[in-house]
Amino acid sequence: MTAARVRSVGGWLLVPGVLAAGLVLALEGGRVARPRSPWFGRPKAFTLGDAIAQHDVARAYALLRETRRHPDELIVVSHPTLTAGVGRFVSPLWWAVAMRDEHAILMLLGAGATIQHVDGRDADCLAERLHDPVMLAVLRRGGPALPDDPCPTVPAAR
């Protein structure tokens, strides 16, 4: 009786360890087999706009370096409310504020992105319109002084 119980307790006590080992093997195996699964990463972005939209800052940085583009070069984006669902040229920094991605903002500012008070490049004005003091603070903290001139008028359609 006692020997059977000892085996039983030993066996049951080993089960959590076996399950934990199985879970880790499944997760690590899954990463190798399907690295872009939603469990393990994000779908691979091929444009800077998509990388920012997916909050994939490392991919956005890699795309900037691979394509040797300046971080102020305009990109085409579409957003249901901010661009009324149609494609529009904006700066990557503007798009990062629209996506409320603090890390992407800091990365772009570090790469040399600037703010100008013209339509689509006015990241700070967008942060004000979105009533997002956090993004505004990040823009102030991470880059050169913000422009003094007034924000551009927002077209009524937007």
Partner: protein
């Protein structure tokens, strides 16, 4: 490996299982350990810690690190880092060697642990797997898995190796080896002095390889070390770093202003906080963050798991330790009773060495002995429950399995924690590179190291945390660290 051990029926057991149960324990532990090692292997060196350290070892001659003129004295670590960084090999090879300096001690620690407990039965193997989960899931280990800061991860296997020698049958070279292990551990970080507590524990409990001469040599060496540190660095800051107190962190300046005239009560709090973190997972860095989260209604699953696992295990340890000490008074010292004394003394040493500020990592040297005690306690409890009446047997066995499950979840949580650290390191590179280039414009060595490490820091291949589905989000690690 161990000479003898008390057994269920009061008898003694020896080898004869041909190592099968050791292999079973290794197979169960290997995936978690392997995952931790593999993630560390791809973890970017952090901007904030690594670059300044590498600047130091580039600018200063290797032997200059032996002079104890700084608040943080880790001469062997700096000498090893200097040897690696100044080697005439590619940058990739140097970064790989720095990662190995962190990975190898962790693997050695788990390997030594399993060899030391040397499971010989199914219950032993299950207890060894559970105890290794305690080792890997404890905050004292987890907080030390930060590349390149391998100070304590080197000390932990050295401490376990010293203990193994102390409780093994005596050999002529054991004293020299224990002294060498202690010197090496102390050379990596002050916390290595915890080995002196182990030697005293071994001597007090008449361990086979412990002698009074050995204990005296190491206590004298420890005192000489402390005297040397004070002689070279007589004016310590009252508080070197921010301290945790109750439910919040107190900055260095505020702590100095509030407690500077009589800091001793706060020192005692910090020491006890480190001990409490090993035993109960609370407080963390002196702050009762889990209790606060539960009080605020914001606690996540992992926080309940950490608290329940630690309270459950420490309660079990208290039951087991009491029995072992009572048995030792009657029948003499056993390895199990020696482990109790070793744990108590090494915890006290970790507490004393963290008087200035408490951090989870400062309890690291006690973690192998908490895990070793867990092995003995789990094994003793598993055998004890078999003697209970049926319904109590089933309830007690279920409780033990639940406790083991919580610790295995914590070990998987450590895998996630090293992933989170890797992702944070990468994000730090991506977001602060330009700022640091501006801030350190007048330090050409710093800038050249920053530039040489940039590729590894910004590589897309850095590990990312797992995005668990909502029902289990927050079980293994905080939910807010999952990718958005």
């Amino acid at each position: 490996m161990r000479a003898t051990t008390r057994h269920l029926n009061g008898g003694r057991e020896r080898g004869g299982d041909r190592g099968w149960w050791l292999i079973v324990a290794v197979v169960v532990v290997a995936p978690v350990l392997g995952a931790i090692a593999a993630i560390l292997w791809r973890t970017p060196l952090p901007v904030s810690e690594a670059v300044a350290l590498l600047e130091d070892v580039t600018r200063k001659p290797r032997l200059a690190f032996l002079v104890p003129d700084t608040a943080y004295y880790r001469p062997f670590f700096h000498i090893v880092l200097s040897t690696i960084w100044n080697a005439d090999v590619s940058i990739e090879a140097r970064v790989a060697a720095i990662r190995v300096l962190q990975i190898a001690p962790v693997v050695a620690l788990a390997g030594l642990f399993l060899l030391h407990v040397r499971p010989r039965t199914l219950v032993d193997a299950a207890a060894a797997a559970g105890a290794t989960a305690v080792l890997l899931g404890s905050p004292g280990l987890r907080d030390n898995l930060e590349i390149p800061l391998s100070y304590t991860t080197v000390g932990m296997p050295l401490a376990l190796a010293a203990w193994h020698l102390l409780v093994s049958p005596p050999r002529r070279w054991h004293t020299a080896a224990v002294v060498a292990l202690t010197v090496a551990a102390v050379g990596f970080k002050e916390q290595g002095l915890a080995i002196v507590a182990l030697v005293v524990a071994a001597w007090v409990t008449r361990a086979p390889s412990a002698t009074r001469t050995q204990a005296v040599i190491l206590v004298v060496l420890a005192l000489a070390y402390v005297a040397l540190r004070f002689a070279w660095h007589p004016r310590m800051a009252t508080f070197e770093q921010a301290i945790g107190l109750g439910f919040r962190e107190v900055s260095t300046s505020e702590a100095t202003a509030r407690f500077g005239t009589f800091p001793y009560l706060v020192y005692a709090y910090s020491g006890l906080a480190t001990i409490g973190n090993v035993l109960f997972s609370e407080p963390s860095a002196g702050v009762f963050s889990i209790v606060r989260a539960i009080g605020d209604g914001t606690a996540e699953w992992w926080q309940y798991i950490h608290l329940a696992a630690s309270i459950g295990l420490t309660t079990l340890l208290a039951w087991w330790a009491t029995g072992e000490l009572v048995h030792a008074r009657r029948s003499g010292w056993t390895d199990e009773a020696r482990t109790v004394v070793a744990l108590v003394l090494v915890l006290a040493a970790c507490g004393a060495l963290s008087f200035n500020y408490s951090r989870d990592r400062l309890g690291g040297m006690a973690v192998p002995f908490y895990a070793l005690a867990a092995f003995h306690a789990l094994r003793a409890a598993a055998r004890r429950v078999t003697e209970l009446p049926r319904w109590r047997f089933e309830a007690a066995a279920a409780g033990l399995v639940l406790l083991a499950s919580l610790w295995h979840i914590r070990a998987v949580g450590t895998v996630e924690a090293v992933r989170v650290t890797a992702a944070r390191n990468q994000m730090e590179w991506l977001t602060s590179l330009a700022q640091r280039t501006r801030d350190f414009a007048d330090r050409p060595v710093y800038l050249s190291i920053l530039d040489s490490l940039r590729a590894q820091g910004t590589a897309e291949s850095a590990p990312l945390p797992t995005n668990y589905p909502r029902p289990i989000m927050g079980v293994f690690s905080p939910a807010n660290v999952q990718a958005p």
